[in-house]
């Protein structure tokens, strides 16, 4: 049987798993190197590259704007996406499947094209400020996650629960807040995490929407990497990994391990 006890399968799998984890571990190791170029094995231990991060104004302001944009984009995707999903799953809408695909369609467009097209249309033609354009672009990245995850949990939720609320004297609007939202809480948090992380990490859209006073963190790191080759990039990579782990930990605390991985 090809089960978890099969030796060949286990060996192959552990090697692949190691290949997945090893590169990230190497990044962590190089971040402490005393040499000013990135190399292995390391010759000594220092934290100076971490302090160098904070000498880079692009990293500090980039982190701030990435954080703000990711927050606004994720929350607006939830606020706009959840009612749409509710309408699609709870009202008898004609062409519900069509609407569903329409809302998911931004995933079909390459991100680099979304960035480029939106930059032309919103920033150049419609003269929308770059910051707003950035949020709109990130909103488009987030919306499909909201639609997909919330739809799945709305379909799983017994619709009779909501009906029981109405029978108890609760109007539809009130029932949405008192009964539906609390019961899809886990998927709202999961959707928020996916939106936030993907927005925070995005490069293609952010690349186009940048201005003299507005750079996002990932493009700043990319830019630094192309001009310098020192362990500062390793150090900020480690901070980003800690940030990711922290997000996962918080979500795990909020909704449990089961809901993140499935």
């Amino acid at each position: 049987m090809l089960d978890r006890k099969n030796k060949t399968l286990t060996v192959i799998s552990i090697i692949i798993l190691a290949l997945i984890m090893l590169p990230l571990i190497l990044v962590v190791i190089t971040s402490f190197n005393t040499q000013s170029s990135i190399s292995l094995p390391i010759t000594g231990f220092t934290l100076s590259w971490y302090s160098n991060i904070f000498q880079q104004p692009d990293f500090i302001s980039g982190f701030e704007s990435s954080l703000i944009v990711a927050l606004i984009a994720s929350i607006s995707a939830l606020v706009i996406g959840i009612p749409a999903v509710y309408a699609l799953t709870r009202y008898n809408i004609h062409h519900a499947a069509w609407f569903q695909s329409f809302f998911l369609s931004p995933t079909l467009i390459p991100e680099i094209v979304i960035g480029f097209a939106l930059y032309q249309a919103a920033v150049i033609t419609m003269r929308i400020p770059v910051f707003i354009g950035l949020i709109v672009g990130h909103f488009l990245l987030c919306l499909p996650y909201v639609i997909r995850l919330i739809t799945a949990s709305m379909l799983l939720m017994d619709s009779h629960i909501e009906e029981a609320g109405w029978i108890c004297g609760c109007s539809r609007k009130k029932g949405f807040f008192l009964i539906v939202l609390p019961n899809i809480k886990a998927s709202i948090i999961a959707a928020f995490m996916m939106c936030f992380i993907n927005s925070f990490n995005n490069i293609p859209v952010s690349l186009f929407m940048s201005g003299p006073s507005l750079t996002m963190l990932p493009p700043s790191i990319l830019n630094y990497l192309q001009n310098n080759y020192d362990p500062t990039v390793s150090a900020i990579s480690v901070l980003l990994m800690i940030f990711t782990a922290l997000m996962m930990f918080l979500v795990e605390k909020a909704i449990g391990i089961k809901n993140i991985t499935e």
Partner: protein, 276 residues
């Protein structure tokens, strides 16, 4: 019940996607067909250049090889993870999810450390006297492929684990009773049942690699452009927006077409009832 309410709930999301996805696309599409020398002339002009063909070819090559490698690596580990006890499976899931959620710059940067001129691979090979001078692995198609595999392998695994966990082990036991060896069972019984999951994963990986910007930018350098990096270069470095629009549309058509093709294929290959 009240259809009016439903419409109001749908309108914001509908307008958001319409105004900010479809309107911009139409806006970049229209000028590419308005050339004086003919409807498709910008496209035929673009496709006359052997440089552009090289870029398109490279994009395809990288995407196809990446899909194949990701598939070969992804299937066994997904089966292994999918068959662990619940707790172990969830922990392994998190280990797979972590790189997925880590910034792509970080993940590609890691391979600079490994593949670079003074990287681990070259140092090891030199130390073993297998090579005399460092190999140029970085900034080649190979390094882009390696980076893409690393980027998309977790996505493939993630999309397969679910289908593996749903497999009915009794079917394999039946095959074993009928005299099928474990590896024969893998190819004749398990993988056919995973067709849908595998094809979904392949679509994600192919389209993702085909349109990825970050990996070819970091690991490919200036001389190994793919379509996504070409769009950025044309638009922002050279200011040739018309050309960037032409490539954008070709890229959309290619990725949409490949998804459509794969989906057709998956319907064709998957003989199980849809609602099973």
């Amino acid at each position: 019940m009240n259809r009016k309410t439903a419409v109001w709930l749908l309108i914001p999301a509908f307008l958001g996607v319409l105004v900010f996805t479809f309107f911009p696309l139409i806006q970049i599409a229209i000028p590419t067909f308005q050339s004086k020398s003919g409807f498709f002339s910008l496209y035929t002009q673009f496709l006359k250049s052997s440089f552009n063909w090289a870029v398109i070819g490279r994009s395809f090559l990288i995407a196809i090889v990446t899909v194949i490698v990701v598939l070969i690596l992804g299937v066994p580990i997904s089966i292994w993870i999918g068959r662990q006890k619940t707790v172990v499976r969830q922990i392994l899931n998190l280990l797979i999810l972590f790189p997925m959620l880590t910034n792509a710059v970080v993940r590609n940067f890691a391979w600079i450390i490994i593949l670079g001129h003074d990287g681990i691979v070259n140092k090891t090979l030199l130390a073993l006297h297998l090579i005399k001078s460092p190999l140029n692995i970085l900034y080649t198609n190979t390094s882009i492929i390696i980076g893409s595999v690393y980027l998309f392998l977790p996505i493939m695994i993630n999309s397969l684990i679910g289908s593996v966990a749903e497999l009915n082990v009794e079917i394999e036991e039946a095959a074993a009773v009928l005299g099928s060896s474990p590896w024969r069972t893998l190819f004749k019984v398990i993988i056919p049942q995973l067709t849908t999951g595998i094809l979904t994963g392949c679509i994600l990986v192919f389209a993702g690699t085909m349109t990825a910007y970050t990996t070819p930018e970091i690991l490919g350098g200036n001389r190994h452009l793919v379509m996504a990096t070409l769009i950025y270069q044309q638009a922002m470095t050279l200011g040739n927006w018309q050309n960037a629009s032409v490539i954008s549309l070709i890229l959309i058509v290619i990725s949409a077409l490949s998804m459509w093709l794969m989906r057709r294929l998956s319907h064709h290959l998957d003989r199980r009832p849809i609602n099973a």
